[in-house]
């Protein structure tokens, strides 16, 4: 029997989760959908399916992308497969009151049409339990303001691939400062030409080297923010 005739139903839970990791890595959407349904039928909570299979599998993909083993299209295929699983889980997660970590508005800045990295961040953040509003590419400051006023996210994420467009992030942050809104949001930035020093110089809260780092950084900042709010409430 070839690998492609594999009967996923015949695997025990541990074997199935391991197989899901491989199938995510190989970008197999239909197989991930089938495995997700099998785990749910076996009584797994949607949150456990998400964290113990999909997110765990994407962590491996993220590591191998960071190490230059996987190419961008392969990571996109893996993220698409994860998204297929997420589509099944999302309504169930809402019904079962699974923990929602936080929310984010994300978009590529004005003058820039590149969205691969941004899309990866969106998918990985959703996979990690964030609610994500993606406002697309080539966004002037007005688009960011409109989106954050409408959705009131914890995080504003900005992406740029070009040396020539990344300074626009500063324009957005300065506008937030002028309007007295800067401290209402965690501002995270990312994109190939960016670095830690640039993020600091424009007044962002954090620089995210890749999608996996973005998820960890976002979790960290949101947890700190919730702790601060909790501390204020208890004071």
């Amino acid at each position: 029997m070839s690998d492609d005739d594999l009967d996923l139903n015949a695997l025990n839970d541990d074997e199935l989760v391991e197989q899901m990791g491989d199938d995510l890595y190989d970008g197999l959407k239909e197989e991930i959908e089938e495995s997700t349904r099998i785990l749910l039928d076996r009584g797994w909570t949607p949150y456990d399916v998400l964290t113990k299979s999909l997110v765990a599998g994407m962590t491996v993909v993220g590591e191998d992308f960071r190490d230059g083993i996987l190419y961008v299209p392969e990571v996109l295929m893996a993220a698409n497969a994860m998204k297929a699983g997420m589509t099944i889980l999302k309504p169930l997660l809402a019904e079962t009151g699974a923990p929602r970590i936080g929310s984010m508005v994300i978009g590529t800045v004005k003058g820039d049409i590149h969205d691969i990295g941004k899309n990866l961040v969106s998918m990985m953040m959703e996979g990690a339990g964030f609610e994500v509003v993606d406002i697309g590419i080539n966004n002037p400051v007005e688009n960011y303001l409109e989106a954050i006023e409408e959705h009131k996210p914890d995080i504003l994420g900005m992406s740029a691939l070009l040396t020539t467009t990344m300074p626009y992030m500063k324009v957005v942050i300065e506008t937030l400062v002028e309007k007295g809104m800067r401290d209402d949001y965690i501002v995270l930035v990312g994109g190939a030409p960016l670095n830690e020093a640039f993020a600091e110089s424009i007044g962002a809260d954090g620089y995210c080297r890749d999608a996996a780092v973005a998820v960890e950084t976002a979790k960290d900042f949101v947890a700190r923010r919730h702790n601060m709010i909790g501390a204020r409430a208890n004071a």
């Binding site: 990791g21 190989d26 961008v72 040396t163």
Partner: protein, 246 residues
Amino acid sequence: MPEQTPKPTNAPARRTRSGGRAGRAERDQGRRAVPSIEARDGAAGFQHPEKPLIIICGALGAETKAVLAAAGLADAFEITALPAIWHNFPDRIPAGVETKAVQARKDRADRPIFVGYADCGTGGMLDEVCDRLHLTRIAGPHCYSFFAGEAEFNAMAEEELGTFYLTDFLARHFQTLIWEGMGLEGNPDMLGTMFGGYKRLVYLAQTDDSALTDLASGAAAKLKLDFERVFTGYGELGDFVAAAAS
């Protein structure tokens, strides 16, 4: 025997299992390891410490040599190149330039060094290296801009933001650097996801070469983009070389 109906060529092939991470590791075992910069240049050292050095992007080798030859400066500099594939990995450029510059000054601490890169997606990190080691780089954000001229390039970008650019080098090596280098070879169904924001491909031609124009036009067809050719010559690369020689 009945003829088999051929599969439609534009339908994405069904992906098959290939063993996840373990399968990938097994398939990658036979890959040739790329020698480090130190391994390639370090042992022999530089050959002409008496000459100023130009550290160029591997994608600018032929162009730099052509400009030097045209100016009668073919033997005036020693030239060393960094991998052209770093076009796809700009974060490697600053450290690569620094390694070369430090090696080149081992024998002659005051050796003038010029850097045949613009910012090239390093987000100011190449400037940090250049400032610290007193190196001079080509002005501007990237090679498209210094070939076309900044004003002309900005006008093209303004006219169509979704423009993908090729130079002579990139047209010649499109298959290796872009199609295979970005991983599209095994995953052509991801083209829309990766290039969906682009509308046209502009080939910035440094030379009049119909074979290169054909390659560039073929690249545009492969990426499903409109095609345009703009002759730029060597643009501001000539000014950079002239300033280095003065």
